[in-house]
Symmetry: C2
Subunit: 728 residues, 2 copies
């Protein structure tokens, strides 16, 4: 943990008071139970308690009215004892006094958050119910029956978010008599997407239900033309998750009074979700060695990760981009911030915010991996949040990119955003935060450079369409993908696109303006989707647009790659020649057998082919990525799908390979249905099966999903899903 | 140190190559001496060395021509063996071959920086001298005499800054034969304020000499009306300092290829100068306990701090704002970036970027320190750099604020800027970096709030002029202060000022808009400057603008404060009453004796008085800060002031107090004259003296300054200065 203090007292003269940064672990007795109206003296010197007059007014009971408040605030699903409400919307409390109130009686509610609460910072709120002025939250007496008052309290729409302590204070002779601290009346206050005055207001109800209330989803992977999807159980309502999200803010030492500001909360979240800098939630690992933790592919959702982090205080091993994005999504939705997971196919990385991704080739046309620094990820996942941006000019609010995957070059600090999607579309890269970096991820040109024998580079091809080919997110109310590329970019080559690109250059993004010789030769690779263990057929089409026949000397290089585009194992090199007649296309079919790639796969499922060709003075190249499809788990559900009624789920799997699978872990979970259960099989022999049945009892109704995932070192990403609808 | 990797291999599939972040410690043999033209195979597989043909061309000598290059590049003052040049300007090299070159001979120069240098990232530069294409740096043969060529090389104006390795490569049969690595030909490349194409171009020569080349300066302190100054020896040319500045970038793990970008370099510098987050250079300490290091007041300049950091790799104890700013200024000027230290008098702090500084008072008018969270620093120091801002709209380049003092609330990360001063003046707070935060430091309103007995706050006075009263920096070519307030703000209350303030509000800065009752009563405190040990006379003027006489019940509170405005010791409370006639001013003179404040001083020299008054329903208050003046050291210089000629300096001091001074440290230095020397006196009795003489030998000519400082727990900030002009 990065602590701002370097010693016990080095900041003594720096702050008038310690900066409150801890919400959950505040001492219980921060307020004296009796506080005399001693206007002059320091209140610290006042006695901590004072005998109240016999016969005077006192508080008998405080009822947080959960049954009334929760449905109105859309917080019923939170599996927590305390009341959870959203700011900017009235909630009610019932206070029962020792006797009916008279005209002379005076009382107030007090809501406190963090240590050293302060009225001027919004961390100590006084709510009054008469003519006397109170704090910014308004209070009304809704009903008065005997000694019981029903009170309506409306937190401001810009209130601090987190866990408040609730007190009732009664004015007695010479002072205020407060109720004792009672943790059962603690109040969780969230951002409110339903409130037009809240910075996270989202006008559309279907979108609010998706982006705030949906606790499961899918994350897209693979590549354009072969999009696959992964289930992710966000589980933001599961037991302990809300406290875990507040714990993350506490662990970040974010001052309590900044937690009213959604821009600061999401930016801090993007820093804290990864372990770099700050011992945050998740440790990134892009190797094949996950022996010190769990493989990124083995998680079913966020809940287990967040609970492990809060219980151990130690970063959880391991994550890759979709894990960072999935857990970040849980954090955001749990706090009430509309959020979704985005997939950018062919995402430019590590190119220092420039609009060039340089791929370098040797004089003979083969990839020069030693000198190539930039990379293109097959896909990259980040999050968007829907918030207003009062810090920016008009029309740049709405969806904002936040990315918690640690990026080496994002200003050297491991966080990213919020960056306005509208600003990215317009090329307005002069606004915070990190918009230039995201712009490059979706807009970079790929520059193919040939390195001559003296070490000098010259460009021979620029591909302006490869990067950011498509940007997907889950559609509202379904598991289909929604293509939101148009929210990030104008159509390639349109007048608006040209305007955006030149504006981006004005704001310092470097682009390639190499003058290239006209090429009359081109090459394209295509292939069908392919399952793990099948042979791959590559269709390589050479097109000759000149008036002369061309003899192309070509080379196919095949390797297994990480989803980051980085080579894991190189397994194939093949030279071939082809003659292409004038204005003709010549197709070459290249077969890559399963025997060639299977031994090299490791845990990767992604094959990468480059064809380079030379004809006289012309060089051509094309790249094809193939994601191998895997088999899936079979899941069946039995029993009556009704709240609080026991049901059963059965997971089964048959090893389709000719080799045994060893050290196999299977995990299963379903938010509102069951928390994570796991099974371990030391070996599954070829063509043998297992069947695993678990009971569960639904806690939440409506459409629900169970997912299971199988994971072992030789086979990852084997999924099963069961959808069911639970009746109330 | 914050390492991005969490294990030896967890990033294997994340990067195509390790990201080069180390400039100084790169292995010596990164290039093979002989590299065959084997176009196809991986160059890694090539033999590392190859016998060259007898009789073939070879390199006999490489001369970096320091005597010619250094004066032209204004780098003569750097106390370093290697050539130091500025980018965008030609430097010359002389290469002597084994025989005169013929038409068939072909050679090139190669400049490399960091590990895994790459032509596409500007970290491997090939310079050619014929028709063959080279890298972006241009090369010309200026002269050819026998076997010796005089070559002119012009690095691009956006080249990477740091330490390059220099190679000469000759084409021999079948490959390139390189010179061996020779550290004496290593080349330091700096930013160039003299080059119009460089992002740090500064048009004015007098300003370049001040802001890039001046290695000493003064930093203003105290308060408006009682400005004092502190000498600071930047020492950017002293031995080891340039390597220390590059070491700081290495320690930050900043990728080498980002070091061409001055925005990234200064932002990284603002993060690395403090130890928070990243084990940077200096540990802040705002207490009175400096037992684990040196008191911030005891430093004479930056050199010792930087050398200690580079030698130990551990943050140096201790700093307060002027130390952070002084050392940061050295870092910036050393790398060639125009920079200056700024002092903002009455600087608003820790108010979360809002335009309100809330000071809370109790019902009886005395300060409520328990509930006051914000603070106003008597002064705060930061830096400005002069750079272009291609990332922002036009006219926002020029001076930019960068601040390395760790600020708890600046986005939770301990760095600040670059923030455009022009954008701050216009209220254009929608641009990076941290402009809203700096805007609040110079523009906040001070809101005086009264806390009623129920805990509710109500404002009773708003002071719109107190914060950012004046902004000073050292004038060009003199030690007088230049008031640059107008570069940050339009005149208070002008139409432009109103436009700026409303624009700032549009961008999310919260302002106070309380409707206050008209006040017809006001109070003002004034006082003369006062030396340590003298009595203080406070002149308190109450003004009654009503038509009725007013009886004011008033209170004086006196305390010793840190320069951050935080109370160290409270020593005086005095009630008094005064009757003020209609439309009159009534002056009350309050005497505070030295006996009252001296025992409470600790190591502070700053007294803080608040007068609060009540008359009927009106509340008034006024604040006065008094910086106590201290005595100084006497310094005399003897000997002939000539380069490389021994001279002597004598420092003397008499304890003016009636108590002994114990554990007294005296330090002295002068860039270009002597590195730091120190003396320790265990006790200096009342009215006794010491005299300390040191020899020194000037290394640099021109106007030079020696400073000495005396420091002990009872007396800090005792200075002496000797100015001298060294002839060549």
């Amino acid at each position: 943990m990065s602590h701002p203090n370097n010693g016990p007292n080095t900041y003594r003269g720096r702050y008038t008071q310690p900066v409150p940064t801890s919400n959950l672990t505040t001492e219980e007795d921060d307020f004296p139970e009796f506080q005399p109206f001693d206007e002059g003296a320091d209140t610290e010197a006042a006695p901590r308690s004072y005998p109240s007059d016999a016969g005077s007014l006192s508080v008998q009971n405080v009822d947080m009215c959960q049954q009334v408040n929760k449905p109105k605030h859309f917080t019923t699903a939170y599996d927590i004892q305390n009341l959870v409400v959203r700011r900017g919307l009235e909630f009610i409390m019932r206070v029962t006094f020792s006797r009916p109130l008279t005209q002379e009686d005076d009382f107030q509610l007090e809501f406190l958050i963090g240590s050293n609460p302060s009225a001027s910072k919004g961390t100590q709120v006084v709510v009054t119910f008469g003519s006397r002025a109170g704090g910014p939250w308004s209070g009304h007496i809704l009903e008065s029956t005997d000694a019981t008052l029903t009170l309506g309290i409306t937190p401001t729409a810009d209130a601090v978010v987190g866990k408040f302590r609730t007190y009732v204070a009664i004015m007695v002779g010479g002072g205020m008599q407060r109720t004792k601290r009672d943790t059962s009346t603690d109040l969780y206050l969230l951002f409110n997407a339903w409130c037009p005055e809240d910075a996270v207001f989202l006008p559309n109800e279907a979108e609010r239900r998706e982006y705030v209330l949906n606790d499961s989803g899918v994350i897209y992977q693979g590549s354009v033309g072969a999009v696959s999807h992964r289930n992710w159980m966000y589980g933001q309502f599961e037991r302990g998750i809300l406290d875990a999200c507040i714990y993350i803010l506490d662990a970040s030492r974010m001052p309590i009074y900044n937690r009213s500001n959604v821009i600061k909360v999401v930016r801090k979240g993007s820093a804290m979700l990864n372990s770099q800098d700050d011992n945050g939630v998740l440790v990134g690992n892009w190797s094949d060695d996950f022996s010190m933790g769990k493989p990124p592919t083995s998680w079913t959702g966020s809940a287990k990760i967040l609970l492990q982090y809060v219980n151990t205080g130690v970063p959880v091993c391991y994550a890759q981009c979709w894990v960072f994005a999935g857990v970040f999504n849980t954090f955001l939705r749990c706090l009430g911030i509309p959020a979704r997971v985005i997939t950018n196919f062919s995402s430019a990385h590590d190119n220092t915010g420039n609009l060039k991704t340089d791929l370098i080739f040797k004089p003979d046309g083969t990839p020069d991996r030693r000198h190539t620094r930039d990379s293109i990820w097959n896909y990259h996942c980040w999050n968007e949040v829907f918030i207003v941006r009062p810090d920016l000019p008009p029309n740049l609010g709405g969806w904002q990119v936040v990315d918690s995957t640690p990026q080496e070059t994002s200003d050297g600090h491991f966080r990213c955003g919020p960056a306005s999607v509208a600003a990215i579309k317009e090329g307005l890269l002069c606004h915070p935060f990190d918009s230039g970096f995201v712009f490059a991820e979706v807009n970079s040109d790929v520059v193919f450079l040939k390195r001559d024998r003296y070490g000098t580079l010259s460009p021979y091809r620029v591909d302006k369409t490869h990067v950011g080919q498509a940007i997907y997110t889950k559609a509202v109310g379904s598991t289909a993908p929604a293509d939101i590329t148009h929210t990030y970019k104008y159509p390639e080559g349109s007048a608006e696109d040209n305007r955006t690109m030149s504006r981006a250059e004005e704001y310092g993004c470097e682009r390639d303006h190499s003058e290239l010789a006209d090429t009359q030769l081109s090459v394209l690779i295509s292939a069908d989707q392919c399952s793990l263990g099948q042979d791959v057929n590559l269709l390589v089409d050479f097109q000759n647009q000149s008036e002369f026949p061309r003899v192309v000397h070509a080379h196919l290089a095949g390797s297994v790659v990480f989803y980051t585009g980085v080579t894991a194992n190189h397994f194939k090199d093949e030279d071939f020649s082809v003659t292409v007649q004038p204005n003709q296309i010549e197709r070459v079919i290249l077969k890559v057998t399963a025997q060639e790639y299977m031994p090299q796969l490791g845990s990767q499922l992604c094959l990468h082919f480059i064809v380079t060709g030379q004809a006289d003075d012309q060089s051509v190249s094309a790249i094809k990525v193939i994601d191998l499809q895997t088999s899936s788990l079979t899941m069946t559900v039995s029993g009556e799908p009704r709240l609080q009624q026991q049901m059963f789920v059965t997971v089964s799997f048959t090893n389709p390979f000719s080799f045994p699978l060893q050290n196999v872990n299977v995990a299963m979970e379903g938010p509102g249905l069951m928390s994570e259960r796991t099974r371990y099989y030391s070996v599954i022999d070829p063509q043998t099966s297992f069947t695993w049945t678990e009971p569960f009892t639904p806690r939440l109704d409506g459409p629900r999903r169970l997912v299971a995932v199988l994971d072992c070192s030789k086979l990852r990403q084997v999924w099963g899903v069961a959808d069911l609808i639970i009746s109330p």
